[in-house]
Amino acid sequence: MIEAHGLTKRYGPKLAVDDVTFTVQPGIVTGFLGPNGAGKSTTMRMIMGLDRPTAGTVTVNGRPYAQHRAPLAEVGALLEAKAAHPGRTARQHLQALAATHAIAPARVDEVIELTGLGSVARKRVGGFSLGMGQRLGVAVALLGDPRTLILDEPVNGLDPEGVLWVRNLAKYLASQGRTVFLSSHLMSEVALTADHVLVIGKGRILADMTVQDLLDGASARTVRVRSPQSGVLAEALRREGAEVTAGDDGALEVAGVDAARVGETAAAAGVVLHELTPTVSTLEEAYMELTADAVEYRSEDLAEEMAEDVAAATAEGGSR
């Protein structure tokens, strides 16, 4: 169980995490979803006591992380791949961390086998691929057999088999009654792995709901309708109990009734229709919509920049 109250982190003028309050329940996988730079990693570092909150508190299993007598038995964390010295072997890295809690060497071997690092355990971490580094991070997280697991982007750099392994592992650990808190910037990943989801954007929690609710909300149907008499039509549809919003191109977005009902309503009111299109928003669209205002680095800005670059290059080429 992780409980955050009014958690805030400010780096100079930038508010990385803005007054965030949430609870992560045991027994389920909770996804922490948000675009890059939304504050996921900062929040996780504050849970682990690595970053000091500017304001607010966060506890794990009832206490601030640093106040636990055997912290690795409470929380196992994968905060970033390769939080290890490249000159040590995977085994030596695990041994050093195990020593702090007098964890038996047998457990070190166990997590090495469990994470599939057996063949490289005696190789130096410096030569590891991103995927192997990620597996070592998971091995560290599992070392103390913790009641709570915090995994920051665990599937990053993993091959498809590794991704599947992480998904199953997260579900398995949650099924044992553990708290599993896993971050990702990929909606699809969270939808496949998590039961509950926290969506964060620009440091604020945008949604805190079950994945099922998010899916239901995402597949909500709307009907796009265009008419020269849109005012009359909107009035008629509202009487039918539909939610009508005007699009910027003169079209109406109708929610709450299906396309057939919109057509019937229009006919009954004697309204001419120019367009009648049922639309289904996908999960990704729902997520994009949710975080649209909260994306730190917009791709359209990049697209504009690239367009400018291309224009500049063309002009240069032409003048030659």
Partner: protein, 291 residues
């Protein structure tokens, strides 16, 4: 709610036994970290070898000087040699001037390499109170330096014994002053290591910490040895004698103390004072800053 009561294992294997974090366990972990890096092992070995090498070289020079009156004359006029005191102990401890740089860099890197590699986050996740990790590092580096330098001095003593006897400069272990200088050499280098560990903890960057340490223990004394000779201003004398290395290395000297320098134990006290203050500041910032 103690960890050992926990029964749900992550695998089908029997429950994992996890004990609470104690200082002894953190110390063991830091020792594992220390001995599993090849670079630290190499630095330690090279330091010992160079200490012995310097002693052999100086002993041979002394042997040569004993047969060459002009050379002996020149040496006895040298102010640096006068300050250190001419004895067999001076010969076998001479390598400390190199040893201090090696020891300082080693101690600083123990902390800074954790920041540069991201290891520090693993360390603090396991020891979230943080300070036990700092004190464990301090114990590991200080004990290592004490053992390695003692062994190096013992070897230097044995291998230079016949040469120094021939030069009529024996190491006299019954002379309290020489004994203090020998012990002082070990103490000085151990203290430099603690000083450097604090600097590394405060600066967190390898290059910055090493630059600072080389400046403090090598460049500043060099500059001030020139300034003091060239100027009559009293403040230059004072700054010079209070420099960490100039003050601290007084404890390795034999012979009378010149006016421009501190008494051996007073000098060492100054270095120890700087070190304690730096360690205290390092501990406070380590506890407060984001990792």
């Amino acid at each position: 709610m103690t960890a050992t009561e926990q029964t749900a294992p992550a695998t089908a294997a029997p429950a994992v036994t996890v004990h609470r974090v104690t200082f002894t366990r953190v110390l063991r972990a830091e020792w594992v970290k220390f001995r599993t890096l090849r670079s630290t092992i190499w630095t330690v070995v090279v330091t010992a070898v160079v200490m012995v090498g310097f002693a052999l070289m100086m002993a041979s020079l002394m042997r040569l000087a004993a047969d060459t009156p002009e050379m002996a004359e020149g040496m006895s006029q040298d102010p640096a040699m006068q300050a250190a005191g001419m004895s067999g102990t001076f010969v076998i401890t001479l390598g400390y001037s190199f040893g201090q740089l090696a020891v300082a860099v080693l101690a600083a890197l123990i902390v800074t390499n954790e920041y540069s590699t991201g290891m520090i986050r693993s360390t603090f996740a396991a020891v979230p109170r943080r300070l036990p990790a700092l004190w464990a590092k301090l114990v590991v580096i200080v004990v290592t330096v004490v053992v390695v330098i003692s062994v190096a001095l013992a070897i230097a003593y044995v291998v230079t014994l016949p040469i120094l006897d021939a030069a009529d400069l024996p190491v006299d272990l019954s002379d309290p002053e020489q004994l203090r200088a020998l012990g002082g050499c070990v103490l000085y280098l151990a203290t430099v290591a603690a000083f450097a560990l604090a600097v590394g903890t405060l600066m967190r960057h390898s290059a910055g910490a090493i630059f600072t340490l080389v400046a403090i223990f090598f460049v500043l004394p060099l500059i001030f040895s020139i300034v003091v000779g060239a100027s009559d201003a009293a403040w230059t004398d004072w700054v010079n004698k209070l420099l960490p290395s100039v003050a601290g290395e007084r404890v390795i000297s034999t012979g009378p103390t010149p006016d421009t320098l501190l008494e051996p134990w007073v000098g060492y006290g100054v270095l120890a004072g700087y070190t304690v203050v730096l360690l205290a500041v390092a501990a406070v910032t380590l506890k407060r800053r984001d990792a």
